[in-house]
Symmetry: C2
């Protein structure tokens, strides 16, 4: 085993898009687990849009990362040393271990993974936070009914790709919005969406939404906010539901963007718009991930991973996610899976 | 009885605020009821914000008023001639009889009124559409819980004044937003709100909302939209509910006003924003108006009417409502109550 490991700490709170000065790489000695602790070797680091919020020194639903602290992140890894009887050496685990190659943990919030059931990288994707996000955000907030039209933005992302497939399982018409022809082709041809809209290619997004949704929009699962969402909101049907999962187009703004007021749509359509955070459904993750695993096994759900190697590439990967460059679940692989 | 009567028809669809060219006064012969019909003499004409929407030639939740048609409106009046066995001459009724001194009706959507129970003008106010609007919009959409803070805009209006009093009945802190010291004094001293904010006098509305709501905002009953609502939305608590009843500040806009995007608040606070139209609750109006009548009798609810006389003043009264000039329920009295 190495005697040192690398970690990325928050060096500087960014204004706008995070840049090279945002994080600082440190090389530090490998610690020894004390009683009750274990040492985890990180294999897959999850890169997610919520991370931008943690860089901001503002009280939100979760505490911000402090300066000189390791950046937060979900990780799938392997226990390489343990003085915790619940986690023996060699097993695979998932936890919020952060942007580092090794992590000490007392086991709180850590779940064990069985690589025979599914690749452990799925624990940061379809069988983890993004999977639960798609499940609860669509089912509990969007409340789709068979025959309705469900639109999802960032449709080729970790969450969006699942939302459209879940909409199909619910018997709905699934329409994805994504940037670029390749992503649009993917969600229709690979994931089985009924239609896709390339927001980068369409000059008139409202018209594109109307073409793709001839019966209007009953559920909008919003990952992005901004003008894309404006174009969907004006096509909402009576009693439509908007599930606000993310507003990625806005995360780098230092002050709110100006946009047309569209609250009148909610009024005339008696529509509902509701934000949610997947951790509020913590007690029901077992339900969500159990069903997602069933659908994965039966072939009803597919997923795609966008993997880069090396901790030093995590900042670029995060920038990519914030710019919509990722294609599928963004992961940084920090080590090989053991044979 | 008169041989002719006056009515106001839509002459011209307004851009922006309705003006003198919007409506045209006509004097026409008094009709005779045919079999199944009755002739109603209008006494109280209701003036309501929704009327602005009916002037617009756009499909919405209700059909627009057509050019040269009588303007829509709720009316309390008296049957002066009848060939409908359900409505005998002399009784008082409420119906959508429009902006005219007399109306023929086949009785559809007409309810009878007992002037011994409450003044018949209440049928266009606390015991009518505005009352049901306050009741369902607060209870069914806002879902207030005892101890929570409820904020309502247009707090001295027909609906807003009731919402704050209902919030008190629910055991909540009631905070009203209104224009001018007189209205603010009224909602606190007469209606029993806990606090009021004069949006015309406050330079920093956000700070004023924070002062009036030291524990944040759990329910926002929105009648106005615009910057007033922006100031409330940023103070929403986790799991807050916004009941969108009206957006009166926006009704005269020909295209949406630009405003800061605040959807991120719904996300981080997991808040819900939902529009509603009182007619969707039509099957339950009996429940609402029965309770409102009980609370009115027991002194738990008070109301105020802002009455002008003469059909020719209806357009000015509507402009006043759209500008927040009314103080209490705006009514145009078209005739004296019979002795």
């Amino acid at each position: 085993m190495a005697q040192t490991y690398r970690r990325l700490v928050l060096a500087h709170r960014p204004e706008g898009m995070p840049d090279d000065s945002t994080f600082r790489m440190e090389e530090v000695p490998l610690p020894e687990p004390k009683d009750g602790e274990m040492l985890v070797k990180a294999i897959y680091l999850s890169i997610d849009p919520y991370m931008r919020g943690r860089l901001r020194d503002v009280a939100s639903y979760a505490a911000p990362v402090q300066l000189n602290e390791v950046m937060v992140g979900g990780v799938a890894g392997q226990v390489v040393a343990s003085k915790n009887p619940r986690f023996s050496k060699g097993i695979f685990v998932n936890g919020m271990f952060g942007w580092q190659e090794y992590a000490l943990s007392d086991g709180k919030g850590v779940r064990t993974l069985d690589p025979q059931v599914a690749p452990i990288s799925t624990s940061v994707g379809i069988l983890g936070m993004p999977g639960a996000t798609a499940y609860f955000g669509l089912q509990d907030i969007g409340k789709p009914k068979a025959g309705e039209t469900v639109v999802v933005s960032a449709a080729a992302g970790a969450v969006g790709g699942l939302v459209g497939q879940l909409a199909k399982i619910h018997g709905c018409r699934a329409v994805g919005i994504a940037g670029g022809q390749a992503k649009c082709d993917y969600v229709v041809k690979e994931l089985g969406f009924d239609a896709a809209i390339d927001y980068k290619a369409e000059r008139d997004l409202r018209a594109a939404v109307q073409r793709a949704c001839p019966n209007g929009v009953d559920v909008y699962f919003d990952n992005v906010g901004g003008p894309v969402s404006d174009a969907v909101i004006v096509s909402l049907n009576t009693f439509a539901r908007v599930s606000i999962c993310g507003q990625i187009s806005q995360y780098n703004n230092e002050s709110p963007e100006l946009a047309p007021r569209l609250y009148w749509v909610l009024l005339t359509k008696r529509a509902r718009m509701e934000g949610f955070i997947v951790s509020d459904f913590g007690a029901r993750w077992g339900e969500a991930l159990g069903k997602m695993a069933d659908w994965l096994r039966s072939g009803k759900l597919k997923y795609k991973e966008d993997v880069v190697r090396g901790l030093e590439n995590a900042p670029t990967a995060l920038r990519g996610v914030l710019q919509g460059k990722n294609f599928g679940k963004q992961i940084v692989q920090l080590a090989d899976m053991p044979h």
